[in-house]
């Protein structure tokens, strides 16, 4: 395990930012921390980095206690904050070298390659960068390092689609090189494309965690079929929800473990056409947050 956290609580005044958060990230995986604004993602990352101390709970990052051993731990990880602010009078290139130098030096050819892939002008002063370009500076510094753990908070906010594709490619390469990536995001498509496992955060706790396949097992598949016979009785089957009919078309959602019992029932009614769709991450997400709206 690269990261294990259990029962993390953190309150700022009356706000409970973390409320018993459990998280486990395996070594070598890309793990998505998914949740809307204010769910506690950034606070969780700050606790993992030892910038903020949890009120209670246990946390272990790369075998170390991030609060006590922050400096030693930071040698082995790289962080891209959710909001990147840089020193206005330094150039982007200088900041990248500074952050690299603090970690004991980074091979310049790796930096140069990353700068080129992200199409960053390293000679510009940081005050002249747009927020997307400031993020690129932090991304280049993190991705070019040889840190075993990358902690990325909303890494693609402000990046254009081309740069997002470059970023995704870089993350895949990092995983291929055996590095662990923890990525906090609310861009579902990106998480779906990149992450091996996902933890969904809500109000300071992880409400669901696992691979996408595992998460889908716990939820429902949406089914659309055209039937020869009327759909009578289908709605009464255990595990079937939200059934609606439109002429010979029937739509419903079915629990993953009930699908095997529902398919024969469809067969008895003469299936002409059948579409079975696993839930998208968006649906998973909405199912966890549905009660909020």
């Amino acid at each position: 395990m690269a990261i294990t956290a259990s029962g993390l609580c953190k309150a700022f005044g009356r706000t409970r930012a973390l409320d018993g958060l459990d998280l486990s990230v395996r070594t070598g995986e890309v793990h998505g921390l998914l949740g809307p604004n204010g769910a506690g993602k950034s606070t969780a990352l700050r606790v993992l980095l030892g910038l903020v101390r949890a009120d209670s709970g246990a946390v272990d990052v790369l075998g170390a206690d991030p609060w006590r051993d922050a400096t030693a731990l930071h040698r082995r990880l790289a962080y891209v904050p959710g909001e990147v602010t840089l020193w206005p009078s330094l150039t982007g290139g200088e900041v990248i070298d500074l952050l690299g130098g603090l970690r004991g030096g980074v091979a310049h050819d790796r930096v140069a390659a990353m700068v080129e892939r992200f199409e960053l002008d390293p000679t510009k002063r940081c005050r002249a960068y747009s927020s997307g370009n400031r993020r690129k500076v932090a991304l280049v510094a993190a991705l070019a390092s040889d840190a075993e753990l990358l902690v990325l908070d909303e890494p693609t906010a402000g990046l254009d689609p081309l740069m997002q594709a470059v970023f995704e490619q870089c993350v895949r390469e990092a995983r291929a090189a055996g590095r662990t990536v923890l990525l906090a995001s609310h861009v579902l498509a990106e998480v779906e494309r990149l992450c091996d496992r996902v933890s969904i955060v809500r109000s300071g706790r992880v409400v669901d965690s696992g691979s996408l396949t595992e998460l889908r097992h716990l939820t429902t598949t949406s089914v659309r079929a055209r039937l020869a016979a009327p759909a009578d009785g289908l709605a009464a089957l255990p595990g079937v929800h939200d059934l609606s009919t439109d002429g010979d078309q029937v739509r419903f959602r079915v629990d993953a473990d009930a699908l095997g019992r529902v398919l024969p029932a469809l067969g008895e009614r003469g299936v002409r056409d059948l579409v079975c769709q696993p839930p998208t991450l968006e649906e998973l997400f909405l199912s966890h947050y549905g009660s909020r709206s």
């Binding site: 910038l51 070298d97 130098g101 005050r127």
Partner: protein, 527 residues
């Protein structure tokens, strides 16, 4: 005019943001003026005692350099307002600069102005709103002060003239800050530039009042004295200030009309694509962040040192009475007259150097607030080492600016007196001021470590300590209270007796405060 659309809303926004700063500042300034007036009245009950006191002040070059002359030997009001008028003029100028930059360039640099100006807000609205706030705040300050001074028994016309004198200075420096905020892209640099001009105005007035009265007219800061409250009430000087402010702010508006949002007059040049060897550590970064302001401060201190060294040898000849010489001997102890002046001038520098110490230490707080500290501290950098680096830069910077002033003053003074030994004496007199600055830096770090949101209270500490020294004797405050100020323990050199104990004690207090701050920082969350 559409360029001014939204001024009202921006003024309300500014007042909302400054709801603590403005009332506090106004109350402190008004109270200082009113309490000095009341206390002076009690000290000099007869006309003869007033004349004697004014003569003593005007014959004391160090007093004249600091506060200017009392223009009328028989005026109790002019005597009472000498110090408050001069220190108040400095204070309203600083407030005007801070307010204007805070509501113009600082907002622009933070990117908030972009959001604001995308609304129905005219191009000239932010600058106008800032100027309106300055004018309004000083009008309130003037009204409160004038009423208060009248209430403690000073003539009404003169009391209004005091209000006008401050108002005039505030107006000019608000306009000056309006220009510097357009010239450079950083709020810090804009403030620094305006404060440097204020420092130059102070230097010109100090030299002018001690040696060449005509020169004082070149300093807008001196116009406060030129209004001559309670000694002729020259109202037209206010008109001079209004005219100057109008011309200078026209330049500011012209600059606003000709530049882009976020831009300055000088375009950003491309920089190095790679960091040099020196920028691969936190120490290197600290040097990069502190060196620009430090060099500017050192240059300013050196310039002031040249002026001090240039006038110090002349002051002996300006004494007109034996009485004054006698008073001087009492005040300065065994030292020569010149030494007393040098020591007084270096004492002012000590206070200003501690201002450098405070702002340099506050850099750590700014780094945390902007989020840059989090990025840096996610690298293998201990937070204690990081904060200690900024403290070290601040403390070393205090010494650097003092040495540059001491060297400049000592060298000129040595040339004028033909005594090379003066260099070492003056430099020592400057350097012994450093521990007081360290104490302030230590206090700032302690507050920042324990309660980061209150870090700016370090400025309050400077103001309180200065006021304790200024008003302690006047208001008859108990000695232990005045002794709380670190400035009270600095040896008065050259001329006075050097004792290592108070210097060592100040350094120890600074170390303890800083240590407490670092300890607190280690145990708290990082914002």
């Amino acid at each position: 005019m559409t360029g001014l659309a939204g001024v009202g809303a921006l003024v309300r926004l500014a007042l909302r943001r400054d709801r603590v700063l403005l009332p506090t500042w106004i109350a402190v300034l008004a109270l200082v003026a009113i309490s000095s007036a009341a206390a002076t009245g009690d000290l000099y009950p007869t006309a003869a005692s007033v004349v004697r006191a004014v003569g003593a002040v005007n014959d004391t070059p160090a007093m004249v350099a600091l506060y200017g002359r009392v223009p009328d030997v028989g005026s109790l009001g002019a005597l009472a307002m000498l110090k408050p008028l001069a220190t108040g003029a400095l204070a309203v100028a600083v407030l005007a600069i801070v307010l204007v930059v805070r509501h113009t360039r600082a907002e622009e640099e933070a990117g908030r102005l972009e959001l604001v100006q995308a609304g129905a807000v005219g191009r000239f609205a932010p600058l106008t709103a800032a100027l309106v706030v300055v004018v309004g705040a000083n009008a309130v300050l003037g009204a409160v002060t004038a009423v208060g001074l009248g209430a403690v028994g000073l003539p009404v016309a003169g009391s209004v003239a005091v209000a006008l004198a401050w108002f005039a200075v505030a107006l000019v420096f608000a306009a000056v800050a309006g220009v510097t905020a357009q010239l450079v892209t950083g709020a810090r640099a804009a403030t620094g530039l305006a404060v440097a001009l204020l420092g130059a105005a102070f230097g010109v007035r100090a030299v002018g009042d001690t040696a060449a009265p005509w020169l004082s007219w070149a300093s807008p800061l001196a116009w406060a004295q030129q209004v001559r409250p309670y000694a002729g009430d020259r109202w037209w000087v206010g008109g001079l200030a209004v005219l100057t402010a109008a011309v200078v702010s026209t330049a500011a508006y012209a600059l606003v009309a000709h530049r882009d949002l976020g831009g300055g007059l000088l375009p950003d040049r491309a920089g190095p694509a790679r960091a040099g060897r020196d920028l691969r550590s936190t120490t290197g970064l600290a040097w990069r962040l502190h060196r620009g302001p430090l060099l500017a401060w050192a240059a300013g201190f050196a310039a002031y040192g040249l002026v001090v060294g240039g006038v110090a040898a002349d002051v002996g000849g300006m004494l007109t009475s034996d009485q004054a010489r006698q008073l001087f001997a009492e005040l300065g102890g065994q030292g020569e007259l010149t030494d007393t002046v040098l020591a007084a001038m270096l004492g002012i520098l000590g206070v200003v150097a501690s201002v450098y110490g405070v702002q340099a230490t506050l850099r750590a707080s700014a780094e945390e607030n902007t989020g840059r500290a989090a990025l840096l501290l996610s690298a293998p950098v201990g937070r204690v080492r990081w904060a200690a680096g900024h403290l070290a830069a601040a403390c070393a910077g205090v010494v650097v600016v003092l040495v540059s002033a001491g060297l400049a003053a000592g060298a000129v003074h040595a040339v004028r007196t033909g005594d090379a030994g003066q260099v070492g004496r003056v430099v020592l007199g400057a350097v012994v001021q450093a521990p007081a600055g360290w104490v302030l830096a230590g206090i700032v770090l302690a507050v920042y470590g324990a309660a980061p949101r209150l870090a700016a209270a370090g400025w309050g500490a400077v103001v309180v300590f200065v006021l304790l020294g200024e008003l302690g004797p006047l208001l008859g405050l108990p000695g232990w209270l005045s002794d709380l100020s670190p400035y009270a323990h600095v040896p008065r050199l050259p001329g006075g007796e050097f004792s290592a104990w108070p210097v060592a004690a100040l350094a120890a207090v600074a170390a303890v405060a800083a240590f407490g701050g670092l300890l607190a920082l280690r145990g708290r969350d990082l914002g």
